[in-house]
């Protein structure tokens, strides 16, 4: 797909520069993160547990204060306007919707009520109705099961509800946190195809994943986060071919068989060694 690198002057949709986040004034969770997403892109953010992915998402969606976190430096803008200090409802109104990790459907509401809640901040009934049609054609199974209680759906269907619900917020930027988590491979492929289609229809996508192969297979570009820093970024194809990424996230290479987490720990130990020297 398109390579948007070097086109930042045309105006990125989302732009982070030198972003610093601390929890409770002590834990330094993000350190000078620079990240840009252009209109129409799919961007993947990779990283192991504790790398700062969740903190990054909280910073984007205004949920940091709920976790006693603060942005202590840097800029964060959507289409040129700052998102700093906005609460989650404002962020949704500005056009960012997030599909949270673990799906989190409203278990006792029906599929349709879940989706209506997605459009909670919107007043334009016709636009909402059009978006209902759009998500129902994207996920025909949800149209079939619109009156079913969401808690009784399968994991994959619940993931579809979560994505559809976020789309009903009418976002310019759709953020997904680990959408492949806990799903069967066939369902992961379906979700991946859905995301490609959603992007093709004009929604920019930020995909945060541990499943690097899935994420990089549909992304235009990717960023690798480690201990709160962007350690690597570039076109998805370049990242897929990168020996470090292969070793750490795809389990290919000399240390094959060692767990990904263990590799990351070793690598962190190496890095800290370098810093202390």
């Amino acid at each position: 797909m398109n390579d948007h690198r070097g086109t930042t002057e045309r105006g990125a949709l989302l732009s982070l520069d030198g972003l610093e986040v601390r929890y409770g004034g002590a834990i330094h969770a993000l350190r000078g993160v620079r990240l840009e997403i252009s209109d129409g892109e799919i961007v993947a953010v990779l990283g192991t547990n504790g790398a700062g992915k969740t903190t990054l998402l909280r910073a984007l969606t205004g949920l940091l204060p709920a976790h006693k976190g603060h942005i202590t430096g840097g800029t964060l803008t959507l289409a040129g306007t700052s998102l700093l200090g906005l609460d989650p409802a404002d962020v949704v109104r500005r056009g960012i919707a997030q599909v949270m990790e673990g799906r989190r459907v409203f278990a006792e509401l029906t599929v349709e009520e879940n989706l209506r809640t997605g459009a909670f901040t919107r007043a334009d009934k016709r636009a909402v109705a059009a978006d209902f049609d759009r998500v129902y054609s994207l996920f025909p199974i949800l149209a079939e099961r619109r009156r079913a209680t969401a808690g009784y759906l399968s994991g994959g269907e619940q993931q579809m509800v979560a994505i559809a619900r976020a789309l009903l917020a009418g976002p310019r930027l759709l953020i997904l946190d680990e959408p492949s988590l806990g799903l069967a491979p066939a369902m992961v492929r379906r979700i991946r195809d859905n995301l490609t289609e959603i992007n093709r229809q004009g929604t920019t996508v930020l995909l945060v994943e541990q499943n690097a192969r899935m994420a990089l297979s549909i992304a235009d570009r990717g960023y690798v986060l480690e201990t709160g820093r962007v350690v690597l970024d570039g076109p998805a194809a370049t990242l897929l071919a990168d020996p470090e990424v292969q070793r750490l996230y795809l389990g290919i290479g000399e240390r094959e068989g060692v767990s990904i987490r263990e590799l990351a720990r070793q690598r962190r130990a190496e890095q800290q060694g370098v810093v202390s020297r």
């Binding site: 969606t61 949920l63 709920a66 989650p88 409802a89 949704v92 109104r93 919707a97 997030q98 949270m100 989190r104 459907v105 409203f106 278990a107 006792e108 509401l109 029906t110 009520e113 209506r116 809640t117 997605g118 909670f120 901040t121 209680t149 619900r165 976020a166 917020a169």
Partner: protein
């Protein structure tokens, strides 16, 4: 599937509505004043239960503080309806406002605490309120209580001495009509909140608080809003209770009353407005039913060689029912009712009669 109704815009089917309307009109002619008073207390409790269900069943906030709001409503009504001598609409609205305001004060606690912790805080509220009720002599008459013969007239119709076309009615007959009209209004209002935008928001907050917030639902507004509506309805129930029994004392607004309200919505079925009304009737009428049924049983009742007193039997049955409902039918009477209805609808002979429109 706790509260799905077959009709999209009415909580009950038309047949049920017709039967309820007939019962509402005819009951005062057919029932004794004793059973009417049982139903009046049941209706009053239903108003409080419907509110608590909005708070606990739909928004997921456990509250043991309901008794405090009922008491606040009772004394507000006593002040406005007796001390100031204002008529029914005035003391009802005053009680609702006072209850709502108190709910808005307590509600913010729910933002920081949930589940058991919120339960403990609201438990403290009941103890605090009972203390105030005992000490504020000017308003409450202290520990011995105060008379609350409220002016129950609205637009020239006095429900304490109702006369229609020269025919006088007893106090029980008139209050039955008054209370159940208000119960119907309260249930309808809550049912409408529940099935529209604010209701979806409350249930979203209950099911997944953070996910709801991520969609732009203000958790603060709906949590506190549920508290305000629930406490306003509790205060209305308290005001009606004060008006009907004409005397109130602080010991009534105890923790036991709060627990009874929780029992009503659990037995009725959490997250069902119809269930809350059924639960209130059930819990309210149960002691009297047991009383009635045990009259002929030799080793029961108040006789000297009786094995167990009716009062003790009541408590045992009450406790047993809560345990049984929680373990066997967590969705309560409402679910039993739905199951019975489905069963009837599937029986061919009844199918034509009870078939209803879909969509």
């Amino acid at each position: 599937m706790t509260s799905r109704s077959p009709l999209p815009h009415l909580p009950l089917s038309r047949l049920t509505v017709a039967l309820l309307a007939a019962g509402y009109l005819l009951a005062p002619w057919r029932l004794s004043d004793f059973w009417l008073s049982v139903l009046i207390y049941g209706g009053i409790a239903a108003i409080g239960a419907v509110g608590l269900n909005l708070l606990t069943g739909y928004t997921g906030q456990v509250s043991l503080g309901h008794a405090a709001f009922l008491g606040a409503g009772a004394y507000t009504a006593g002040y406005v309806g007796v001390d100031l001598g204002w008529p029914l609409p005035a003391w009802l609205v005053a009680a609702a406002l006072a209850g709502g305001a108190l709910g808005a004060l307590v509600g913010p606690a729910a933002l920081r605490l949930r589940g058991h912790y919120l339960g403990i805080i609201t438990l403290g509220l009941v103890l605090l309120a009972q203390h105030i009720f005992q000490e504020w002599n000017a308003l409450t008459g202290g520990a011995t209580g105060r008379p609350t013969t409220l002016d129950a007239s609205i637009a020239g119709v006095d429900f304490n001495e109702l006369t229609v076309l020269g025919q006088p009615f007893t106090r029980e007959q008139s209050w039955f009509w008054l209370v159940w009209a208000l119960t119907g209004l309260a249930a309808l209002a809550v049912a409408n909140i529940v099935r529209t935008r604010p209701g979806r928001a409350m249930q979203a907050v209950r099911d997944r608080e953070v996910a709801a917030e991520m969609l732009g639902v203000s958790v603060t507004r709906y949590k506190i809003g549920a508290f305000v509506v629930a406490s306003a309805l509790a205060a209305v129930a308290g005001a009606l209770q004060a008006g009907f029994q004409q005397y109130v004392s602080p010991s009534e607004w105890s923790l036991l009353l709060s627990i009874q309200f929780l029992a009503m919505i659990i037995v009725g079925g959490l997250g069902s407005t119809t269930g809350a009304v059924l639960g209130a009737l059930f819990v309210g009428a149960l002691p009297h039913l047991i009383d009635e049924l045990s009259a002929g049983v030799p080793w029961l009742a108040g006789e000297q060689d009786s094995l167990i007193s009716v009062f003790a039997l009541n408590q045992i049955v009450f406790g047993l029912l809560i345990v049984l409902f929680l373990t066997l039918e967590p969705h309560g009477l409402a679910a039993l009712w739905v199951r019975l209805r489905t069963h009837i609808a599937r029986t061919p002979r009844w199918h034509a009669l009870t078939r209803r429109r879909t969509g």
